[in-house]
Symmetry: C2
Subunit: 318 residues, 2 copies
């Protein structure tokens, strides 16, 4: 059986054709053309779905799962106020898509779909329950409990990037202060690194950027750290420590002890994971130590599309 | 149908006879005599159960639920390392009790039973899902999700007093720093208040204690605050603010928006709840505001015994 997974973004719409067991079969991307308004964007999503469906060469398609920004309704059929999509307030996206394509559709937010994709097609397959953190521009979260997404009372659970570790801490893209998005979100980590590097004109990274760090990204820190740059290592360790404290909070509340990291910043790997583990173990109550584990998901952005397809299999496969 | 709820403490064993619908019928307490060792304490628990059962005058008893300190096994039959109980390491308490009394038995930790008791017999009846905080000597937590306890992967979920709000914050009775137990736990709040009061010899509370605050308890702060003592008000507001930040963390992770407070410190009521609500709303992401609510459970310690009986009804009632 096949399903279609869609990743709806402000600049591009990605479509994936997914086989229930084999995973990703084919994928494509088209421009969102979000500036042309709601109806046009809906038509573009339908186009991406139909283009993806053509790749199935007539094989049956169970339905469509869509990863969307904004707040998703509990029934997974509507989306409200997605950032970067002009003219969208509350849109009954599932029915709009079914009207245009004939396929049944369900929505979910990207971070939850990353978790679901990992659970069904990635390293998460090895765990019945895990906490997924996507360390990208923002920090997103998803909770898999007993092989299903834990969604809370309205579908909004797992805003893990906005869990406070210092109530006087820095702000990120929300009203919350001192959540790990404010430390590990790409822009925030880069900003923090720039402040430190500016005081170290002898550092190789300072020289590499000629003292102008507007283009600095966490990737540069990882590369420098891997090449032995101690300052870059210490900046990543600083970020990892903060991650560790947030992980303590997730585990003390949920008693789910496997943490899976994905996203660009997570590519720093052990440069972040080791200090995170050390900080977490220093503050985790002893009964929570057995089974505690931080691992890396390397499916990348495909995880979200695979998760979107999994949503369709769960919802529509007979 | 009746069940027996037991509250096992280091100094006393409380027994409650509970009717499925009507709630508490009768209760008693005997000394634990913990110093006389494991076998003797087990006999004392059995005695409390049999004494409670006699009050049923022959009516059928479904079984026994026991609220116990220490780490409870996932199957709710064993307890490990309960503090204040001499000679206990890992004890298969359920079978020890059944051997001695003939009744089937299940265990759970006190904080979870407070939540279950509120859910079945208290203000929690009005909510399918809520977060329960018991503000006593320590700060305990329980999570009710869709009318059941959320227990995580091993039964250890909801250590809500040890969720970090300031990773550099004060220590409490665990390795975690800056959890709300370190601000709102009775001893910690009293200590904080004493430090402040010592600098205010003109304050009525200073005079009341003659500058020696070893006997100061949160109750004295509430009483003074209710009598217009602004310093006492500000100390309780300080504690409430910290509680508010912790609540943000629970809600951002769980998307459960009703918070029920119980325990001695919670009796300060609006002196704590209002600043907690204000702090929480300042940091809660807007989609989580609808339905957000902090309320007070006045069942008191009976909640835990009622919750213990509910455990027995759930587990053993035909």
């Amino acid at each position: 059986m096949l399903a279609i997974g869609i990743d709806l973004g402000g600049t591009s719409i990605k479509g994936a054709l997914v086989h229930r067991e084999k995973g990703l079969i084919d994928q494509l991307a088209i421009d969102t053309e979000a500036g042309k308004g709601l109806q046009h964007t809906l038509d573009r999503i339908a186009l991406a779905i139909n283009m993806t469906a053509e790749r199935a060469h007539g094989a049956e398609i169970a339905g469509v799962g869509i990863g969307a920004p904004g707040v998703i309704s509990f029934d997974r059929k509507s989306v409200s106020n997605p950032p970067n999509l002009t003219g969208w307030t509350k849109v009954h996206l599932a029915s709009e898509i079914t009207e245009r394509t004939g396929y049944p559709a369900l929505l979910e937010n990207d971070a939850n779909l990353m978790a679901l994709g990992s659970a069904r097609y990635g390293i998460g397959k090895n765990y019945n329950s895990f906490i997924m953190l996507t360390l990208g521009t923002g920090v997103g979260g998803g909770i898999i409990f007993n092989n299903e997404l834990f969604r809370g009372t309205t579908g909004g659970a797992a805003e893990l990037g906005h869990v406070i570790i210092d109530y006087n801490g820095p702000e990120s893209n929300s009203v919350t202060r001192g959540g790990i998005e404010a430390y590990l979100g790409q822009r925030f980590l880069s900003h923090h690194a720039a402040l430190i590097l500016k005081e170290h004109p002898d550092n190789d990274l300072f020289k590499q950027f000629d003292g102008n760090f507007s283009g600095l990204e966490p990737l540069h820190l990882s590369q420098a750290a891997e090449n032995g740059n101690e300052l870059a290592k210490s900046i990543l360790a600083w970020a990892g420590e903060k991650l560790g404290y947030a992980i303590v909070n997730y585990i003390h509340i949920l008693d789910i002890r496997t943490v899976i990291l994905s996203g660009g910043v997570a590519r720093a790997g052990n440069l972040i994971i080791k200090p995170a583990r050390k900080a977490a173990l220093s503050r985790l109550m002893p009964p929570f130590h057995p089974g505690f584990n931080i691992i890396y998901e390397d499916l990348g952005n495909e995880a979200a599309m695979l998760g979107a397809a999994a949503l369709a299999f769960d919802g529509f496969e007979n």
